[in-house]
Symmetry: C2
């Protein structure tokens, strides 16, 4: 019998359709992956090509030049210049597209990925996320900032060089509003943060846990929207990613790398997206907002059912996804 | 300057990122399409193979056998048998997966698609949708019914033979609840149906209209979520698809075929999904619910931005999408 599970954090019902008879191995990436070189002369993000990405916004230096660079997105979907202006003509309501859209070049090395990057480098990536996140929120035209990573063609990028993006948008998206309201409502009802309660529950249960480090826990959600959908929650209650402490950055680097390594080695480097979902810096002390990271390997395809209902069909039991990933052997040199 | 547009019906903001410099022609399907035969001996939906799809639920007969068949989905995500039972253990809330999941075989001819199907056949397809929709809602375990079509690999199906699906689910998805509440709120504020008002506005404006027939109008939404995203609205206010009258079925067949033909010939038969969004039969007389059809050709890819914000980025101005499709020449024999 299939099962519908309610994701209490998103309020979305998911159909867990185990009847489809899929096993974890069925989601191993079929596409042949070419072995990438460490350096590509024509890659605008490789060292030596810095002039191809002008207007550098941020840099972490090292003796050889740089470890991280942040540059404007060449295909920015928002414009840095101009005032935020609303237009309201009958049913047509718009805001002009001011905002920020930057690319974070995560390393000079062309062929690394989150799973294979040294923890020290990943720490710099997360530090950069935090610094840019705080900086972009200083712009009074920005209502919401999202940090995300696309990796591989099925994730929406064709750029190979390891990079993330950060976008500051002049509105608060519906989905974000609805999730904040939901968290508030849970707090009204129980006096507890829904995510704090979820962390305790998941650690006690254990069936869906992937990596439990000092400050973070990664796990497959009870109502995961797709096979190997993963959440990483900070154990310390905090409404904003901007509040991340330096010992937490280190621990998150360890947790994120080990979680991504399970996907990388277990599913033969699937394409993936991850996103950081966070309140603004001013939400740090909120009792009901709790920032977190969502990871979605692109191993399943949405159809008309998902489009027409907003509901997902997950053909693999979350507990089976978790068990499979826990069993993945990471090579000793990683 | 990019522009953010508010979709008043979904309440979702869309970034219209015309800065990406894309033209309509850039979305013409790149994948080479093989020419399909009229009949495939191994296809379970082709005539002569009826025994491969047992438990036929519905049939429209003709002198040669059948014009339409409805059968249970072999990969059903919901189970027909059993009682609806809720489970509630702390944060874990579930409903067992009872419901209906059927396949509508739209024609015996293997190589037709909505754009190339005779209007007479499309009329039978829509009649079948209506009959099954009403029938499935009779099951008291079913809370919501969705009719949808996946066409081509990027839409989530690998089955070539023309087919649609209908699913009756034992819960009301979050997205559906939120849109009903939104329509109700608009009615509270204005005393008008938001979709009726949108129809008048779009017809008066004209810039996004594709096909305006006696009872239906197809158009690109003002805040279309992707290039060539299309809505077809019935002009007569009605809360439920079950209320469709026979002259409206005929007119919808004409409108749907001509709209799909613009996509088919203009974009070289892109993969697509369409969905019928409707209240239940009991909502027919609702003042604020108004059923409609949404069509999404799969020409763009969602990335971490969409996953993490619920917001879409549309790289093509809706008015330019509409102008391009209006200009598509349909061959005279269609």
């Amino acid at each position: 019998m299939p099962e519908l599970r309610l994701n209490l954090i998103t309020r979305e019902w998911v159909i867990i359709a185990r009847e489809k008879g899929k096993r974890p191995e069925d989601f191993i990436s079929a596409r042949e992956k070419k072995r990438l070189p460490e350096f590509v002369e024509t890659c605008p993000f490789c060292p030596g090509n810095e002039s191809k990405t002008p207007d550098e916004q941020y840099r972490i230096r090292d003796e050889k030049g740089w470890k991280i660079r942040v540059v404007p997105n060449k295909f920015a979907v928002l414009s840095k210049e101009g005032e935020r202006r609303r237009t309201n003509t009958g049913l047509k309501k718009s805001v002009n597209g001011v905002g920020t859209h930057e690319v974070i070049i995560e390393t000079p090395v062309h062929n690394l990925t989150t799973a294979t990057m040294p923890v020290e480098q990943l720490k710099e990536v997360i530090q950069t996320y935090k610094d840019r996140f705080i900086e972009i929120y200083k712009d009074p035209r920005i209502e919401h900032v999202i940090i995300f990573k696309n990796n591989g063609p099925a994730s929406g990028t064709t750029i190979e060089h390891p990079h993330s993006q950060i976008a500051g948008i002049p509105v608060i998206p519906l989905q974000i509003r609805s999730r904040i309201e939901n968290a508030m409502r849970f707090f009204d009802d129980t006096g507890e943060c829904l995510l704090c309660k979820t962390i305790n529950d998941e650690i006690t249960d254990g069936a869906r846990i992937l990596s439990n480090t000092e400050h973070f826990v990664s796990f497959i959600p009870y109502a995961a929207l797709s096979p190997f959908h993963i959440w990483i929650f900070p154990k310390r209650h905090s409404g904003s990613f901007s509040d991340l402490r330096s010992e937490e950055i280190w621990d998150l680097s360890i947790n994120l790398k080990s979680t991504m390594a399970k996907l990388y080695y277990g599913l033969e480097h699937p394409d993936f997206n991850y996103v950081i979902r966070s309140g603004k810096p001013g939400n740090t002390d909120s009792e009901f907002i709790h920032w977190y990271i969502g990871i979605v390997p692109r191993v399943a395809m949405a159809s008309g059912f998902e489009l027409g209902s907003g509901m997902y069909i997950n053909p693999l039991m979350p507990e089976i996804s978790a068990e499979f990933l826990r069993g993945v052997r990471i090579p000793a040199n990683e």
